[in-house]
């Protein structure tokens, strides 16, 4: 039997601000527009986590969804209803764009899942904007 991908959706809400301290106010506004406003703004993020593998011969599962939910929810506690720049340690040296947030979530979720291979994460910032990351380097 071939491998199967299973995907589970999660929601969380966070605020963020795009701003580089070493740039001038004008440069930040030119590059980041409204996202550079001083007090930040927020989104309802939707995260889809996909793991892939062969279904277990006894359980028929690639991963027990209870374990997947527990691993991902454990990671999302750090982000849900938080300000990404101020309340998490991951964006001191990088902008909390959807791209960077996806790679951070990949690292944390992959670690939380242990031996279960993470296949893809898809992170929606809004309904019409999302990023996908497969753990690949450019």
């Amino acid at each position: 039997m071939g491998g199967v991908t299973i995907s589970r959706r999660f929601d969380f809400s966070s605020s963020h601000r795009y701003y580089r301290e070493e740039w001038s106010e004008e440069e930040n506004t030119r590059v980041f527009g409204l996202c550079a406003l001083p007090n930040g703004h927020g989104h309802n993020y939707t995260l889809e986590v996909a793991v892939a593998g062969d279904p277990d011969a006894e359980t028929g599962m690639v991963i027990n969804l209870v374990d997947l939910k527990s691993a991902v929810n454990g990671v999302l506690e750090q982000f849900d209803h938080k300000h990404l720049n101020l309340d998490t340690p991951y964006f001191s040296d990088r902008i909390p764009t959807t791209e960077n947030l996806a790679t951070v979530l990949w690292e944390l979720i992959a670690e939380a899942l242990g031996r279960v291979p993470l296949h893809r994460i898809r992170l929606y910032e809004t309904d019409d904007l999302f990023v996908e990351y497969y753990g690949e380097a450019a």
Binding site: I95, P96, T97, E99, T103, D128, F130, V131, Y133, A137
Partner: protein, 138 residues
């Protein structure tokens, strides 16, 4: 380690009419193949267009591509030409090509591959919420 490779997708929409008909076949043959879609005066759809680009995440900005640049590109190269038009009559892409969802996906890809180059990864055209066309197939 080199920068992570992230895929970013953005969803757009345009409204256009089309007629599925080719001068290379008889009227009867056109009707047999295209049915209602061969109606002489055409009909319309609200098309959804999802554009996926991929590339390394920029160290300074955290972007794969500035969203404004992607939006401007899609607007200039596709939406300005397609939105509120009769594709067969108003858009040169279809002067000698039936504007099926398949062909629209390919033509949109060709238009966007000029400015986006290797960054362009996928084009998805939704003709209705039931009919979707992806190019290229991977």
């Amino acid at each position: 380690m080199s920068a992570p490779l992230v895929h970013l997708s953005r969803c757009y929409s345009f409204s256009a009419s089309h007629r599925l008909y080719t001068d290379h076949l008889s009227f009867e043959k056109n009707e047999a193949i295209f049915g209602k879609c061969a109606n002489p005066n055409g009909h319309g759809h609200n098309y959804g267009l999802a554009v996926t680009v991929a590339g390394p995440v920029d160290d300074a900005t955290g972007y794969v591509i500035p969203l404004e640049e992607l939006d401007d590109t899609v607007r200039r190269y596709v939406l300005d030409a397609y939105d509120h038009r009769f594709l067969n009559v108003d858009v040169e892409d279809y002067f000698d090509l039936v504007p099926t969802g398949e062909n629209i996906a390919k033509r949109v890809w060709e238009r966007l591959s000029v400015p986006l180059g290797d960054k362009l990864r996928k084009v998805v055209v939704d003709e209705t919420r039931n009919n979707s066309f992806e190019y290229p197939v991977k």
